[in-house]
Subunit: 276 residues, 2 copies
C-alpha cells in the first residue's frame, strides 16, 4: 500500500471514522499537515451521502496530532441539487485536533478560461533533486525539483531577505496516480514561506488552509503519476502570521488546484530556546 | 444606527444568537454575502469565551438566506494559549443556510514584511463614482471608485474577454469607522469576476469565501472612515466555477486583509431563461 493510502486509511463505524497517524509523513511535532488534510478529505469522500467531486476544503489545525489513533466525525450539513456541504472534525479522546468544511459539486462543462498563467520553467527532468538529506520523514514522501526558490538557509540575521516565491515540480514518492487526496496533500507541501524569506529555520505552523479544486477525474487521469508544478508566494508577514498562496499546475498547463494558508511564525526574538 | 450595524445586530440567549435580514444589503435572491459573513463574524466576536482578534474566517454559503429571522449557533472548538477556534452555523428553521470556521489569535509585534505591493493608482478623490444607478440595494452600501477594471457589459457573446483584475477604492456608505466587520463585508464587495471577463450579467453565487486579517485595532483606527483599495483577480474559470483572490490595502499602504473565494457561474447556455 502506498504511504499516502496508508496514512489516509480509515475504518468506518456508523458514519464516523477512525484512523491512526503514519510515521511516513512525520513532521516536527506530529504528522505533516497535508496528510492530515488528505485524511479529513478522505473521510468526507467516504461518507455514504457524498455526491460529486471535491470543490473546496478548509482545514483548521487546532492542535498537534499526537502519535496514535484518532477519530473523524463527518456531518452532512446541506445537500443541494449540485452542491453539498460537510463539516468534519478530527478528535483524539475528547480533544478537537482539527476542524474542516468541505464543499462537493457537480462540474458542468462550459466556459473555460485561465487568466492565471503557468510559469515557463525548466522541465523536472532537467533539474536535480536537492542534495541534502531530508531532515523530516514527510519530505521524503515527495520528489521535489526546484525550478526556482529553493530555500537557502543564510544563517545570518542581517542577511538580505529572500524571495517569498517558489516554483517546484512535485510528485509523490513513491510515485502514485494523481487524485484529490494527493492534490490536497501537495497543497501543504511547500516549505514555510518564512524559511525562504528569513533564510533560517524558525518555529512555524499552518493554522488554516483552504484548497479549491479546478479539475475533474479526466484531468487527474491525464496527470497520471507525472510531476505537477507547484507555485507558492506570500503577500505579507505581520504580527506573527504569514500568508501563502499556491497554484498546482499539470505539465500540460492545466490549473488543477489553488490553495491559500495562514501560518504562525515566531522568530527567535519571541521563542528563546525555540527551534532555529 | 449604521446599516452594517443594523444588518449584523444580534440578540443572544444562552450562547446562541438570533438576528434578521436587512433590506439595506439586499442582493438578487437574499442578503449580500458580505453582510452575512460579517454577521457570522459578529456572533463569534460576541461569544463570551472569545479572546484576541480575528485571524481567519471561512464561510460556506449553503443556501440563499430567506427574508426574515435567522439563528446563529457558535461552538467553541479549541482554545489554546494564543489561538482559538470556533465553528459557526446559520440556520433558518431546521435548514442550514451557512457554515463558518473562525480562528482568533493574539498578534505579537515582530518581523514585518510585505512582499506583495500595493498598486500605484489614482487617489479616490480623482475618480468619479460610477454614473449608473445601482440595480441592487447592497451596491449603494459602498462608495466605490474604480481605478481600473470597472465591469463593462459588452452585450455581445463574441466580444473579446475582459480582464479579471479590478482595482477599486471602497468605503462604507454612509461612512463608518473601519473594523473587522467592515473588512469582512468588503471582502465580498467585488463584482463577480465572470461579469468582468464575459462582459455580461450571468447567474453567479459565492460558494465559499476565506478571509485572513493582517491588522490589529491600531491599524483599523488609522484607517478611520477612509477608503481602502481593493484589488481582485482570478486564476481560473472552469467547469462552472471561478476563483477570486482579493487584497484590501489602507491608503497608507498597509495590507489589512487578503481573501479568496470560489463562486459558481452558469452562463446562458446552461441557464435557459436565467438572468442575463
Amino acid at each position: 500500500m502506498h504511504p499516502l493510502d496508508a496514512a489516509t486509511k480509515l475504518e468506518t463505524s456508523g458514519g464516523n471514522f477512525t484512523g491512526a497517524t503514519s510515521d511516513a509523513y512525520w513532521n516536527f511535532t506530529g504528522p505533516f499537515g497535508g496528510a492530515t488534510a488528505a485524511t479529513l478529505l478522505k473521510a468526507a469522500i467516504d461518507h455514504p451521502a457524498r455526491q460529486n467531486f471535491p470543490l473546496a476544503m478548509t482545514i483548521n489545525y487546532c492542535a498537534p496530532v499526537a502519535k496514535g489513533g484518532f477519530e473523524v466525525i463527518v456531518s452532512e450539513k446541506r445537500t443541494n441539487r449540485s452542491t453539498q456541504h460537510f463539516a468534519v472534525e478530527m478528535k483524539q479522546g475528547a480533544e478537537t485536533i482539527a476542524t474542516a468544511t468541505l464543499v462537493f459539486a457537480a462540474r458542468p462543462e462550459g466556459f473555460f478560461h485561465t487568466p492565471g498563467t503557468m510559469p515557463a520553467v525548466k522541465m523536472p527532468e532537467e533539474i536535480d533533486p536537492p542534495k541534502a538529506k531530508a531532515p523530516l520523514a514527510w519530505i521524503d514522501r515527495f520528489d521535489m525539483r526546484f525550478a526556482s526558490g529553493f530555500p537557502v538557509m543564510r544563517g545570518k540575521d542581517d542577511a538580505p531577505l529572500g524571495s517569498a516565491r517558489t516554483e517546484v515540480w512535485m510528485r509523490d514518492e513513491p510515485r502514485r496516480k494523481m487524485d484529490f487526496l494527493s492534490l490536497m496533500n501537495m497543497s501543504d507541501a511547500f516549505f514555510a514561506r518564512p524559511f525562504h524569506v528569513l533564510g533560517r529555520l524558525i518555529q512555524v505552523g499552518t493554522v488554516s488552509m483552504t484548497t479549491y479544486f479546478h479539475c475533474d477525474e479526466a484531468d487527474l487521469v491525464e496527470v497520471g503519476d507525472d510531476y505537477v508544478l507547484g507555485v507558492a508566494d506570500a503577500s505579507i508577514f505581520a504580527k506573527g502570521f504569514a500568508d501563502q498562496s499556491a497554484w498546482l499546475w499539470s505539465r500540460s498547463g492545466k490549473l488543477l488546484a489553488t490553495s491559500q494558508q495562514i501560518l504562525y511564525f515566531r522568530d527567535k526574538a519571541f521563542v528563546p530556546g525555540g527551534k532555529k
